[in-house]
Symmetry: C2
């Protein structure tokens, strides 16, 4: 073949070379640890889902599926979609076992999700997301509070402090009650005001008021005041969060959240750094996710947080640790003819739980020793004629330069301890 293949990945997706994979794993492992520290159980499903799962909510969704997802027809004439979000999948799974599951159910997952994005700088078509939900809790307040506490800990567990981020809370029911108290009752006006509120922090006050007056002429001033003063107020959720020791939380009455299925508490977490001042995480309460699948209505509260935003946050706040993934021990044969002896030595250490890399390269001994010293490994062991003949080896501690000699069993015990 004359023409060479491209080394680039498919447009909009990422290759994870080891140094990026180490960061990705650090993020996933920390997410996982946080979720499990709240007693959440992990689930997963395939990235392939029947397309009807996303089209079920009417024409608007159908358009969304056609325009913004990866959807294709398989050879059996089934329409298939690469999941763009996890909620429909988890709703399907909960509905499938609603009779056996001991509610409240606490589940989390770290799925990859696909969206067909027009090519925009920095936008990826595949990303990973931490998804956490509590389903079927009768005590909604406790569940809402626990879910926000988990979102909070999912940053704290990376080493973040409260000053680095802000939790903003709103409640769709409370907003509705407030609008009703002003005589704003028709759903269409409420929807329009909600959409406008979503832009409150992005547009000028005058523009906000002008548009607001067009929608609800008699209630505009009251709504503005409600929104502007919301940070000084509190509700049951923010009070409870303060009580359990979470202080960087505020009511924000402009908070709207896009998804239609939210019916109660909604929340977002924002990065406080001016260089990265954006929403990192969002979630909320929904009354019913499962009646599309059967007669049962099961509600819950959940949130999602993406890997790209998470990594940006960790880099902005210098929270990424040194993720050197080197083996603990580097075995260096003096000459390549001792490579297999090196492998034999390594097996003794691996069997004792010590990760061991054998340098089987053709590099010179001096170069191999230097490389080992710079690899981040803790120990070095040279294998040559003498060592093999005497069956006694010298283990060098690369951190402090000390050496100890002995049998492989003794040395392996020494590292493993």
């Amino acid at each position: 073949m004359a023409e060479k293949l491209s080394i680039e990945p498919y447009k909009g997706v990422r290759d994870f070379y080891p140094e990026d994979m180490a960061i990705q794993r650090h993020i996933f492992d920390t997410w996982s640890r946080t979720a499990e520290s709240f007693g959440f159980e992990r689930y997963d499903a395939s990235v392939l889902e029947p397309s009807e799962l996303y089209k079920s909510k009417g024409a608007e969704n159908e358009e969304l599926v056609n325009d913004q997802t990866y959807t294709f027809v398989d050879r059996g004439d089934r329409e298939v979609t690469l999941r763009p979000e996890m909620t429909p999948t988890v709703a399907r799974m909960i509905a499938g076992r609603h009779k056996e599951l001991p509610f409240p159910v606490r589940w989390y997952s770290i799925p990859n999700l696909f969206r067909y994005e027009r090519s925009q700088r920095g936008r990826v078509r595949e990303h990973w997301q931490l998804n956490c939900d509590i389903f079927g809790a009768e005590d909604q307040l406790a569940a809402d509070v626990e879910m926000i506490a988990l979102a909070y800990r999912s940053l704290i567990d990376f080493g973040a402090t409260e000053e680095m981020f802000s939790i903003k809370v709103n409640d769709r029911r409370e907003m509705k009650e407030f609008y009703h108290s002003l005589g704003v009752i028709d759903e269409e006006s409420i929807t329009q005001v909600t959409r406008l509120n979503d832009r409150f922090r992005k547009i000028e006050r005058a523009e906000y008021m002008e548009e607001l007056r067009k929608i609800v002429p008699g209630a505009a001033e009251a709504i503005l005041e409600f929104v502007e003063k919301s940070e000084q107020t509190e509700n049951a959720v923010t009070k409870a969060l303060n009580a359990i020791g979470i202080n960087n939380v505020q009511i924000d009455r402009s908070l709207a959240r896009g998804f239609d299925y939210y019916t109660g508490t909604i929340f977002e977490i924002f990065d406080n750094d001016p260089k990265n001042n954006r929403s990192m995480l969002g979630g909320g309460r929904y009354d019913d996710l499962t009646s599309l699948f059967g007669d049962e209505r099961i509600g819950g509260v959940g949130f999602g947080m993406g890997d790209v935003t998470m990594r940006d946050f960790l880099e902005t706040h210098d929270l990424l640790p040194n993720l050197n993934a080197s083996a603990s021990l580097i075995v260096v044969p003096t000459e390549t003819k001792f490579n297999l002896d090196g492998e034999k030595v390594a097996m003794a250490f691996r069997g004792a739980g010590v990760s061991t890399l054998v340098d089987i390269s053709n590099r010179k001994l001096g170069k191999k020793v230097t490389n080992a010293a710079h690899s981040g490994a803790g120990y070095l062991l040279v294998v040559g004629e003498d060592e093999i003949a005497r069956d006694e080896f010298v283990l060098k501690n690369l951190a402090d330069g000390t050496e100890s000699s002995g049998s492989l069993t003794d040395l392996a015990k020494q590292i493993a301890s």
Copy 2:
């Protein structure tokens, strides 16, 4: 909507409810630990790849891509394939950085792979696979031996013993030399004999000989003897494996391996249990995987092992541990009005590294305590009026029934220690 959505996943893929996910994670975590114990670094890439990556090797591959993969055209008119194997991806990534990478490079990944299978019982369309490769090692023997040692340890590290499985080794170069020594030189005959050998253990001896005589009339007896007696022979790889302490390894001259790109050592691991007697893992050496992408020819040795076969092996040999994923501590509020106090108590334990679940259900106190006792959790802590008033709590050890009381800080220290 009158019609309800199906709770079934897309055809041929699996949902991972928590109990299955726990097994899946046990498998992935053990694979990961084994690979890292050899100093391998983890990489990953998207499941979406440009289709040309799989079509590059001529018409036969093009047919394979069209018939057996998930391939579709995106909105930008790009042909995209859900990766059916990882080797083309890793070849692309190695080629993309061949100038910077310090060879030999040891990489592993646990990708999900998709194949469009006609509906067959038990065949899945998506599976996960441990993929390990050593690229660019000058000492091919040492690399081959290390790779088979890693495959071996990937079973041993699950608790398997040598009696449970057999490693079979062959070598394409040695086979070629042998055929040449018999005067069988044309590639077509060698390919036909190789394909027949692949069926050696599945068909009768007479049938094998009949077909063999048709292909190579003058060499059939010699080939039969070579194949039949191969278990009593050894080569450099099996000798070295014995020397490093691996005994369940044999030469098998009938071993063929399907992939055309293998050029040297090939190997498979078989389950010895008669109920599950099949190939679990296969791999081999290839001279060149990267010249499709540029002028550089980089070879290596690698293997792949699937999650479905792995789980079958673990179940057949009763090697799955108890994977109870419960929290360490269950906090039980005496009444639901203390649920938020329960959440507050839980935060103290979570902050100390103790995974803690709060039972916020409406169940009766007695039922909640019984559930906690059966959950697999190590500890139980009841939160009620008295405990809150005194700010002193009683921690019950569910394993031995002992109780200790104190402040939350003291009790958290006690569990964490």
